[in-house]
Assembly symmetry: C2
Homo-oligomer: 161 residues x 2
């Protein structure tokens, strides 16, 4: 495949990952994670510690889906860096989500969240599969970073963020 076709395939796998989350498709999410019997997978949800291996990672998705009535991802700033059989995808996940309704309410409260993700994909005979997912909340004010990419002096130091 040409580099462009590879990039399109990686982007399609990345999109499929978020769509499976949106539709609560646990089997779909499971199928997208690398399962080659040799390469351990890792996953960090926003604010969580590192989860390692299929058991831990897939349990976390089952837990998230059980507690999420509604979730939608608006992906922006998607960038793909390809080398050999590996791709590093970064994107901003603009998340709108809600939990199950409580106390007889019709809908649970909706929450908006700004999260950035680094998703590492590995090419297999079945296509591109997720090797590592690391998502984290954006806490700093990014207003002046979007154009220059240079965090201003008035932003918190990362070691104090």
């Amino acid at each position: 495949m040409s580099r462009t076709a590879d990039e399109a395939a990686v982007e399609a796998a990345n999109t499929a990952f978020y769509e499976a989350m949106e539709t609560g498709d646990f089997e779909g999410v499971s199928a997208l994670w690398l399962d080659d019997g040799a390469t351990p997978i890792t996953c960090v949800h926003p604010g969580w510690p590192v989860l390692t291996g299929r058991g831990e990672v897939l349990r976390s998705y089952a837990l998230i889906m059980a507690n999420t009535e509604y979730i939608q991802f608006f992906l922006t700033d998607l960038k793909i860096s390809l080398a050999g059989n590996t791709a590093v995808v970064t994107c901003t996940e603009n998340i709108l989500s809600g939990g199950p309704p409580e106390d007889g309410a019709e809908l649970g409260p909706l929450v908006g969240q700004l999260v950035v993700a680094t998703n590492v994909f590995r090419h297999t005979s079945d296509g591109w599969r997720i090797w590592s997912h690391h998502a984290s909340p954006v806490l700093a004010d990014t207003d002046d970073t979007e154009e220059t990419g240079d965090p201003g002096d008035d932003e918190p130091r990362p070691d104090q963020a």
Copy 2:
């Protein structure tokens, strides 16, 4: 190199990265980032948006070093997942840091911080180099996750963390 020698080399590169940060060695940090002229690098500091490319990434380290008088990383939970010329390293960065002294004080205030990182390394003719670094604060109570890796029901949902 055998798989074990590769893992040792990846771990050495990972250690060198944090030691260069500790000693404020900007040239050392710069040299450890992948610079093959073809593969864009990406970096996420805790709470920050994604930084892409050598210019943005290295400027962020210059900024951090300029605002950090003292920083020490105690790495725990280090795990390496290797496939071909790529390695995914996860670790917990137990960080102790302090900024420049203010108002005539001898030392700035020290801050402890619990951060998890996913570091992606690429093998080059010069050794293993950092392709992607994503670090994020651990916000959830991890007391009951260390043994089972299974976040309890009483923890915040990742989409609300």
